[in-house]
């Protein structure tokens, strides 16, 4: 039995997003596209205004002489050093660079990006970054310039095939830790 726009369109509609409760799909026929390598990767930022934001939100890390508390202090000192050396970015700049992408005059169907601010319990610190993709082999495309120009600790931006990018996101999101 086939379900598509012409044959059984109601079933086709129900199956897409309907979980798996409308039947067992034994085959998916997908349209292919001629496509070569794309540009993209993940960049990681050190956030320099995190302490200010925490203070304005009334969050204070009191120094207690236990492992966790000392770790928090060490990480924040390290972040301070990174900021002093000029390798850190302001969270506001990261968010603005991202939201500016939504402006109509910037519309570019090749560009894709998301940003993240993640809490890493192991080191009791926030990690911020962006994952970008440009579906052409064009290095540092102008649409994403504001995001790429933010100071970063490291980046994996490169021109590769889609399988390489899927493997990268896989590595950053291990099974059971997603």
């Amino acid at each position: 039995m086939n379900a598509n726009q012409q044959t059984h369109p109601d079933l086709y509609y129900a199956l897409r997003g309907g979980g798996n409760n409308f039947g067992i799909v034994t085959k998916f026929d997908l349209e292919t596209y001629r496509h070569g390598p794309i540009w993209g990767g993940t960049s990681v930022f050190a956030v320099e205004d995190l302490e200010e934001i925490k203070a304005s939100a009334g969050v204070h890390d009191r120094l207690l002489w236990n492992f966790q508390s000392v770790t928090i202090r060490l990480v924040s000192v390290l972040q301070g050093v990174i900021s002093r050396l000029g390798f850190a970015a302001k969270s506001r700049d990261i968010i603005h660079a991202f939201t500016n992408l939504a402006h109509e005059e910037r519309e570019d169907s090749y560009a894709h990006a998301y940003i993240f601010f993640s809490w890493i319990p192991e080191i009791r610190a926030y990690l911020s970054g962006t994952t970008m993709a440009y579906t052409k082999p064009e290095v540092n495309p102008s649409t994403l310039e504001e995001l790429t120009s933010i100071k970063k600790l490291y980046t994996t931006n490169r021109v590769r095939n889609m399988s390489d990018f899927a493997a990268e996101v896989e590595k950053m999101n291990p099974v059971r830790k997603r």
Binding site: I24, D29, L30, E31, S163, V169
Partner: protein
């Protein structure tokens, strides 16, 4: 059958992970993919011919779950491997039954 793993009450979960075939049409305009295939393998196979499909961003995610909009558990749990074999057999029987029913009703 894996109790409590279906999204509906008394529902069943069917493991389709071994139905992971990939068949490219002669004119290469479409590709038929089994629901158990994973996106990473799909991309690798298509890239050899300079092709791509719209799919998932994470390589271990399965084609069936993402396309239909949902997944519940990790099917790579070795402790439950035997159980999944049973489920797989069951799925084949169930599909045969579905086909028979469909033919009969037509």
């Amino acid at each position: 059958m894996i109790p409590g793993s279906s999204s509906i009450e008394n529902g069943v979960l069917v493991d389709l992970s071994r139905m992971n075939s990939l068949e490219l049409a002669e004119d290469e305009s479409t590709v038929s993919i089994g629901p158990g295939a994973r996106w990473g393998d799909v991309y690798l196979a298509l890239e050899e011919r300079g092709l791509l499909v719209v799919g998932g961003r994470v390589s271990s995610v399965g084609v069936g779950g993402l396309t239909l909009g949902g997944t519940l558990i990790d099917l790579r749990d070795n402790k439950k491997a035997e159980l999944y074999k049973v489920v797989y057999l069951f799925s084949l029987v169930f599909m045969e039954w579905l086909v028979t029913m469909y033919e009969a009703l037509r």
